[in-house]
Symmetry: C2
Subunit: 338 residues, 2 copies
């Protein structure tokens, strides 16, 4: 509230609203808190609402939460998603869905530090959050901090081996099938897969999807077409020669970074994409995939949807599936490398 | 609280703590709220603390904040930093510094939507935040939402032309000088700059730094060595031929993405980096800069420090400099492209 518009500089109180609306402070309080037991005529209610707008009155959310016994907070404890190139969309999705239902998201980024994690969870419990989303920046099994079990919890982009909490994760198998099918549909029959050296659901799931897609196309699985490489540019670059030696005409890369390295390896050998070799990535890491030469056809990790569905599961708006894990589809993103 | 460890499943209350410590509920409340007017012996205080630890009691932060009249929240309203490839470090820095001083960061990502912004600010004011950081994902002049002026505000990675609030921004001029000096120090005398087509503090500041560094080295400014390109890979690729036509032996690129495009353009012409042409980027966008072939020497945007200093200015731990804008150094990151 500034002085220029003729108002005093003290924060607007319920008393000010009551005065302008010509009602009691109790009436204002009932309207602000949506008290279902209070009988207030529509005219008075309208006058209160108009006075609130006019004066710019802001109810004290802390007091409101205290009266109702719970807050309108949802916690999000993340190891590194706010500071990771692309997993931040989990925050975006969770926030949009939380707001839709009148909740505010409390975000704590812990960089995987257990002490910071305990501190963040403690803070959230003290603020009487409705529940907590626990999220990791890549899909993996997570050991759940005990304190989380004091409230409702949903795991996002990770899961508990012991099944202690429901989880929302990307459907790696389906993503692997999609990626492989993009290459099969373009007529390729000899398709290599450059997988990651890191044991993970992504490693196992994408390989399984690759095998299932080949199987469905009647192409026998050939172990010599399967490579493991460090899941970054250098890994893709270094494996190029070995991949070419198999006579593969198409490559499904574990992620877009590996594809970027493979691009360099192919270019060094004077080969063109996709006329000599077709390439599909995974992740849809925009800053890379959309700007390679040629732009990379890939499969998207559904980060935004993971965040949305995490909140929906937490609020009971979505049923928890059998097995406790909700698998979200990874849609293909068609560009020019196939 | 789980049943297995012999405790009941209801949340631990102040009454439980009082019982175990053998004191009154009022005494527990005084200890929990650090009430300076209450006279409590050290022995009783110690018993309360031990009971709190033992029972895992979590004081209600909402009630505590209501009693003290303000909360321990700092708001961070950002247009897109949580979902941007690398500016998320602003959140990380702000959070670390806030926690250090007992504050919790409320993060709202608005994707630049004015309505979402007003909603987020309103929510934060209702929660009686200590103040709000308002941040953008790239350095620019920002029009400040009026509601922000109802509380203390610090601008991070942006500023108000009218000087309505203190700001923390990267020192673009100093960054431009650093980048250019890296090339001068390697013996280059004919240095091109591929700037952005977008009018911005980065455009003007980095160009000024480039000129100042040349000046200090006694090299006259040559306008034909200045190029403007779209600030992404395609811009860098497309400008390659024109840059080479000037006879430049080194290029200072507006950002790492432009450098990545220029790499492709140089490679297409059979030129090597750095032996034929040296390249320096800007931003230190890790996923690109660290993994190009050769890895890119660049200048880092100090996102983490911007977040830290935003909180320090807000809490009065750092003096607001003359002019209201605190400029933070952009440190060089040496890799292999010079």
């Amino acid at each position: 509230m500034t002085a220029e518009n003729g108002r005093s500089s003290h924060p607007v109180t319920m008393r000010d609203v009551a005065k302008v609306a010509g009602v009691s402070v109790a009436t204002v309080s009932h309207v602000v808190n949506d008290n279902p037991n209070a009988r207030i005529g529509e005219a008075a209610r309208e006058r209160v609402r108009r006075a609130i707008d006019e004066l710019g009155y802001r109810p004290n959310a802390l007091a409101k939460n205290l009266v109702s016994g719970h807050s309108k907070f949802i916690g999000l404890v993340a190891d590194a998603i706010a500071t990771t190139p692309f997993a931040g969309q989990i925050i975006h999705g969770a926030q949009d869905e939380a707001w839709k239902h009148g909740y505010v998201l409390l975000v704590a980024n812990t960089e995987g530090n257990r002490a910071a994690e305990d501190e963040a969870i403690g803070m959230m419990l003290e603020h009487k959050v409705r529940g907590i989303l626990y999220s990791t920046w890549y899909h993996r099994a997570a050991e759940i901090p005990r304190a989380l079990l004091e409230t409702d919890v949903v795991l996002v982009d990770c899961f508990s081996e012991a099944g202690e909490a429901p989880a929302v994760v990307p459907d790696e198998v389906e993503g692997g099938r999609s990626a492989t099918r993009l290459l099969l549909d373009a007529g390729h029959r000899r398709i290599a897969i450059v997988n990651t050296t890191t044991p993970s659901p992504a490693h196992d799931g994408r390989l399984r999807g690759y095998r299932e897609a080949l199987d469905a196309a009647g192409i026998p699985f050939d172990e010599t077409l399967v490579f493991d490489a460090r899941p970054e540019q250098e890994g893709g670059y270094d494996v190029t020669g070995a991949v070419l030696a198999t006579g593969a005409t198409a490559v499904f890369c574990h992620n877009d970074r590996v594809a970027m390295g493979l691009y360099d390896g192919l270019r060094d050998r004077g080969l063109s994409i996709p006329s000599d070799v077709a390439v599909v990535g995974f992740d849809n890491q925009e800053v890379i995939a959309a700007h390679l030469r040629p732009p990379l056809t890939t499969v998207a990790l559904p980060h935004y949807e993971l965040g949305v569905l995490g909140v929906r599961l937490l609020l009971g708006l979505e049923p928890v599936p059998d097995g406790g894990r909700l698998a979200v589809a990874c849609p293909p993103v068609i560009r020019s490398s196939v």
